[in-house]
Symmetry: C2
Subunit: 474 residues, 2 copies
Amino acid sequence: MTAAERLVVVGGDAAGMSAASQARRLKKPDELAITAFERSHFTSYSACGIPYWVGGVVDGPDALIARTAEEHRARDIDLRMRTEVTEIDLDRGRVRTRELDDGGRESWTGFDKLVLATGARPLRPDLPGIDAPGVHGVQTLDDGRALLDALEQTAGRRAPLDTPGTSAGRRAVVVGAGYIGVEMAEALIRRGYEVTVLERSAQPMSTLDPDMGALVHEAMCGLGVETVTGTTVTGVLTDSAGRARAVTTEDADHPADVVVLGMGVRPETTLAAAAGLPLGESGGLLTDLAMRVRGQDAVWAGGDCVEVHDLVSGRTRHIALGTHANKHGQIIGTNVGGGYATFPGVVGTAVSKVCDLEIARTGLLERQAHAAGLRFVAVTVESTSRAGYYPGARPMHVKMLAERRTGRLLGVQIVGREGAGKRVDIAAVALTAGMTVEQMTALDLGYAPPFSPVWDPVLVAARKATAAVRAAGG
Amino acid sequence: MTAAERLVVVGGDAAGMSAASQARRLKKPDELAITAFERSHFTSYSACGIPYWVGGVVDGPDALIARTAEEHRARDIDLRMRTEVTEIDLDRGRVRTRELDDGGRESWTGFDKLVLATGARPLRPDLPGIDAPGVHGVQTLDDGRALLDALEQTAGRRAPLDTPGTSAGRRAVVVGAGYIGVEMAEALIRRGYEVTVLERSAQPMSTLDPDMGALVHEAMCGLGVETVTGTTVTGVLTDSAGRARAVTTEDADHPADVVVLGMGVRPETTLAAAAGLPLGESGGLLTDLAMRVRGQDAVWAGGDCVEVHDLVSGRTRHIALGTHANKHGQIIGTNVGGGYATFPGVVGTAVSKVCDLEIARTGLLERQAHAAGLRFVAVTVESTSRAGYYPGARPMHVKMLAERRTGRLLGVQIVGREGAGKRVDIAAVALTAGMTVEQMTALDLGYAPPFSPVWDPVLVAARKATAAVRAAGG
C-alpha cells in the first residue's frame, strides 16, 4: 500500500476549508492526508457578517462560524489553529509554520499538493496615528471582537441598540464609504453613535458610477449618517494615553471615540510573492480556470488572495467576496481530489445595504467600460419595486450600460429600497449569457403586483437602453 | 395628401391599449386613425390587482387603472367604451359593434389594420346553480366591484379588515386553488371570512408539481385556509331567493355566503373563430413572431387571447398574464406603426403569494417535460432566503429539473417566504439563455448576508442537479 498523498492548506477560512472539505469528500484519509493552518482563533466564518454582529443585528461570533475547528477535525482534517505559515518552500515541497500561542515554536510540514487561501488584508494607509488603539479594521472575527470591546469601553458598557437619543455624544468616524464602510455606518448608528463617514471620492460607493453614488449619498444623509466626500484623511490624533481621539483630513478634524477603517482590502500574498508565485496587478495570485496557480502543477489558490477573470472586460480583477471564495474552495477541492471543475469567472456582482437602502451592481461601471476599450450607451430609469398601487412599492433606480452597435449588456447598477437589490441577479445572468439589452426586453420575469410592476424595473431599463443603442447608431 | 390609415383595436385593456398607444407614438393622427372598442366600464387596468382590491390591500378601482379612457382620448385614440364588437368581417375590412348602454345601437366600422385583444374569459363549468347570484368571477374590474358589493351585503356592511374574530360565521368558498384561487383565499381571509378552497387536483397550485403543491397545501393550512383537494364540484345550492348558499361536491356540501370561481381562464376568441382565424389547441389565436395572426397581412393579436411560443418545450401554450399582454401590445403597436419588433416567446414564469407564502415557477413541470418528450432529473433543496444567521432568514424550497445527458435547465419551482419568489427570475433568464445547470453553479449572484446565504438557494439547487445529471449518466 502506498502512503497517503499530503495536502497542505494555508488559511482556514471559506476558500481553504471548502477546498479541504470537498477534497475529503472525494478522498479517504488513507488516500489523502489533509493539514490546514489558520493563524486566527476562528475558522470557516462569514466575515461578511461582521458588520451585523457589531451592529447587534446578529449574535456572534459563534453564529458566524459555518463549521468549527472540531467539526473539521471530526472529518479527518488536521486543522492547526493559531498556527501561521511563515514560508513556502516550493522546491522541497514544504511550509514553515509558527505556533502563535505556544512560544512561537517553528516547524516544517511537507506537502505533495498545496492550497493557498491566505485571504486579504485591509488597507491601512501609512499615516500618523493609524495604529493607535481605537482604530479598528473589521476583516476578521478577531477584529470584530476587538471593536465590540472598544465600543463597550467607550460607553462604559455595551451601547444600547436603536436608541440614538442615548448616544451622549459618542462619535464614530468610518474611513471609506465602500461596502464595508456603509455597512459599518449602519452598525454604529444601531449602537447609538453619531457617525461620520469620510470618503476620498466625490461620492460614496465608488463601486458605483458617481451619479448612482449621489443617490446613495442623499439617502445616507436621510438616515442620519454624515458623509464627507472628496476628502483625504491625513492622520489620526491621539490623546495623552495614546488613544485615537480624532481623524484629521486636509480640511478638518473629526472627533472620534472610535475609528473604523473601511477602505477596502488587498490580496494577502506576501508568502506567495516570497515564493516567486505569479501575481497580477492588484497583487492577487494568478490561476488557470481550474484554480491552479499559473505555472504550477501542484499548487492551487482561491478566495480573497487571487485575481479572477472578469467575463465582461476580459481582464483579471481582485474581488474579495465570500461567495467567490466558497466556489473557489469547492472547485479546488474537486480538482485536488481527482475530479474536474473550473471557475469560468465573474461578472462583478455585489449587493449591500445601509439601513433600508439597497445598493447593487454587476458588470462594468462607465469608467471600467472606458478602460476596457468599449464604446457604450448608459441610461437610468426610475421605477418601483412592486406595482405602483401595491403597499410597500418603493422607488428604485436602475442604470444600464450597453455596448454601442451590438447592444450587448455591459453592466447594471441599482439603488433602491426593499426588493431592489437582488434584482441585480437578472442582469448577472444576462451578462453571463452575453445577452443584448434588446433580448432582455423580452425576458419572462416573474410578475404579480406584490412582486413587481407589470414591466419589471430591469425591463424598463432594458427598453430604454435598447432605444439608446438604436439612437446611437454605430 | 392621402387619407389616414384606419386601425381598429378590439379590446381596451393591456394588450389593446398598449398597442394603440405605441402605434400613436409612431404615427400621427393624420397618418393613422385609431379606434378602440371596449365593452366593459374600464380600460387599461391591472386585473392582477383585483384580489388585492377585494382584500382591501389596495384601493380600487381607480388605483388599478393605468390610463383612463380620457387619457387615451387626449392622445388622439378614439376609444369607445361600453361598445362590444359583435362581428369581424375580414373580407370587407370592417367590424360590427353594439353600444351596450345606448339601446344596443349597432354600426359598422371599417379598418385597414386590425388588432385583436379580446382577452380571456373565466372557466365557468356548466353546473346547476353556477349562475346564481352570489357566485362571482374575478376577471374584470366589473367582477371585482360586484364581488365587493356582495361582501358588503353579506355582512350588512363592508367587512372589517384583519379581524377574523368578527367573522360571525361568514363563509366563503373558493373553487379552484390556482393563482387566482389562492390570492382570493387571502383576500377573503383579510375580509374576515372563513375560507374553504375546493380543488380537483391532489394538491393546490397544479401549476406546480404535486410535491411542491403539498408544501403550499401545508402552508395554507397554517394560514387558516381550509383546502379540500381531490374533490369535484357538482353544483351550487341556492336558497329560496335563488342566492348561492352552498357549493356541493361528490362528498359534501360546503356552506357559503359567497362563492368565488378561480378555475382559470380560456382565451376569448369567439369573434376570431367566427371569422375563421386560426386557433391553437387551447382556443387561443395563433400568431407569428411579430404577433401577426397567422395567414393574415393586416391582423395582429396579443394578450390573453393568443397562444405563445414556449421556448423550453417548443410548443405553443396559453398563458394569461398581464406582463405578456403589455409586451405584446408594445410589439404590435411598433409593427402596426411601421417599426419592427418580435416576441420570441415565454419560459412560463409565474409568481404569486398567499399571505406571506411565496410561490413561483418557470420552465417545465415534470408532467410537461414528459409531455415534451424530454428525459430529465429532478432535485429539491431546502435553504434559506438570507444567511442563516441573519434575522428574517426563512426556509425556502427550490425544485430544479434538468435534461439528462445535456444538463440543460428545464424548470424551477420555488415555495418559500419573503424573498423567495422573485428568485425565479434567475432561472427564467438562465432558461432563456439555454444554460446548463452546471453553468448555473458558477453564476455570480448578488451575495450579502441580508440578501442571501453565501450559496444562493438557486445555486444550491443547481449543484444538486449537476450531481444528479452526472449520476444519471446518458
